[in-house]
């Protein structure tokens, strides 16, 4: 069975500092990988996705993620965060030829001035 692990439930960081949110998945078959962001009192919005090809994926708002097949990881990074990046971030995985997403438990990013 697939699973997604987000190791950090909360990540505090100061504005303009770099940040990395970690995501590891378990699957014996090929997968698609996603990062979603949820701002307070809102639904989820897609940040970026890995389908195939280049392992470095760029998304909206300056975020990027790198797919590492050998380590089964898909960590999210941003070189310089803003106050407005304060939100909860969810990693999700979908096995090829299925119609379900499996979500991690989320990481709350808190950016301080």
């Amino acid at each position: 069975a697939q699973s997604v692990t987000q190791l950090d439930s909360q990540v505090p960081v100061f504005e303009e500092a770099p940040v990395e949110l970690r995501c590891n998945y378990s699957s014996s078959v090929s997968v698609y990988l996603f990062w979603y962001v949820q701002y307070p009192n809102q639904g989820l919005q897609l940040l970026l996705k890995y389908l195939s090809g280049s392992t470095l994926v760029k998304g909206i708002n300056g975020f990027e993620a790198e797919f590492n097949k050998s380590q089964t990881s898909f960590h999210l990074r941003k070189p310089s965060v803003h106050i407005s990046d304060t939100a909860e971030y969810f990693c999700a995985v979908s096995r090829h030829n299925t119609d379900k997403l499996i979500f991690g438990t989320g990481t709350r990013l808190q950016v301080f001035p």
Binding site: F90, N97, T98
Partner: protein, 115 residues
């Protein structure tokens, strides 16, 4: 933004009462999903639909039923609400078929409190 609305957006109800949440889409997407979001659990799939009158259970389907009589509407019913069903419920839609990737678009959520 994908055209997804959820109603009601907030609801407070009492244990034992029936509750129906509605998800409405204007995108004509085939797949629709109901999730619940709880602290420490992320999003968990309750039920999903892959077409009109075609539904299936997710990982936390006990105590919930769904119906989809039209492409645009997906209803989630709690036949007899319990306090453990206090949660935020999200609807999602997806156009994908099994040969494609599964990008889902989410509604704004419904906050349900069962007293």
């Amino acid at each position: 933004d994908a055209g997804i609305t959820q109603s009601p957006r907030h609801k407070v109800t009492e244990t034992g009462t029936p509750v129906t949440l509605r998800c409405h889409q204007t995108e004509n997407h085939r797949y629709m999903y109901w999730y619940r979001q709880d602290p420490g659990h992320g999003l968990r799939l309750i039920h999903y639909s892959y077409g009109v009158k075609d539904t299936d259970k997710g990982e936390v389907s006990d105590g919930y039923s769904v119906s989809r009589s039209k492409t645009e509407d997906f209803l989630l019913t709690l036949e007899s609400a319990t306090s453990s069903q206090t949660s935020v419920y999200f609807c999602a839609i997806s156009e994908s078929d099994p040969s494609s990737y599964n990008e889902q678009f989410f509604g704004p959520g419904t906050r349900l409190t069962v007293l």
